[in-house]
Amino acid sequence: MARITDLNGVVMEVESLGRAFTLEVNSKLDQTLSNRGHSISMLVDTTSADNADDYVLYFQNIGPVVLGIGTIDVMASDVTTLWFDEVLGTPTFTAGVDTQETNRLLGSPNDPVLLSQYDTDIGGLIPFGRLFFERCALANRAYRVNEMGGMALPFSTAFAMRSSNPAAIITLKMTVNINDY
């Protein structure tokens, strides 16, 4: 019968119920992706809605690998409710600004292939289904959208974010994962 040994001949133990002893280093998915240069911080550096519930952020995967959206942290200068919707259609912008992406493996050239812009009123979109919401109940406090699995965007799918209060200036940081696991 074969036994598993290391280079020095130390034999792996198996206990009385047949379970092999292991010493495990456990890495969460986000940590593994970050170590590979596949985890990106995406930043919206302030936007607000022209009118209540205008879309202010548009995000579409235009690359070959599924993108995963992990944690979303938001802050608003005034009370507002943010909804994240799956959307169809072609976005139109009045003065669209590209979101900023920074790889969490510093210096890595890996960039997700995406179209991601923010604006005060993104038109041309058709809501296809609501995914998450977050209530920014207090001004200038950070809130985390607590969705443990996040969402996954295959090629050409898109979501958008809308804000209920035009007086709220919004800052957002989102984790974007290149999901090649």
């Binding site: 292991t22 010493l23 593994t32 289904g129 609501r130 919401f133 977050e134 969402m151 295959p154 999901n179």
Partner: protein, 180 residues
Amino acid sequence: MRIQGRQGQIADVDDSGRLFTLSTSLNVDQSLLTTGRVSSIVMENVTPTVANNYIFYLRNIGTLNVAIGHATFMASAATTLWFDYVSGEPAYLVGTPVEVTNRRLGNPTKPAIDAQYDANITGLTQEGKLFFQRLDTANQSYFFDTVSGITIPTGQALAIRSSNILAAVTMVCSIGIVLL
């Protein structure tokens, strides 16, 4: 016997006989997301006509188990929500089907459920109380995590009741199709 990697590395065993491993773990929701088996269901601005009326009903009408993982709630006034295991046939004043959106965008898979919300859902018998969530402050979101999940086999149902007739309740809840 030794375990060898592609570049010739040998798996190590410590002095206590433990094999060193390095594993990446996914939480259940992340795992379900890879195959399009988790969706958001949305209920918006529903107020009970009488305190502790059922305002939400969900029954599994498919062949696979479904599970509620976690939810985000908001209400226009303070209220307490209870998740109950229920039996019986629901009767609605109006009845609005919940909105269901797969969290793997573009994936057509939907859980096979009968789920509606209403100001007063009757005809249900409470079989047991599962969880509660207190929404203390109006217009503030609350994250509700069941930790274990609520598994709903074929034919079984749960319902949510709300204590305050002045509170319009909004919910986004995760629902997964469970193959385990």
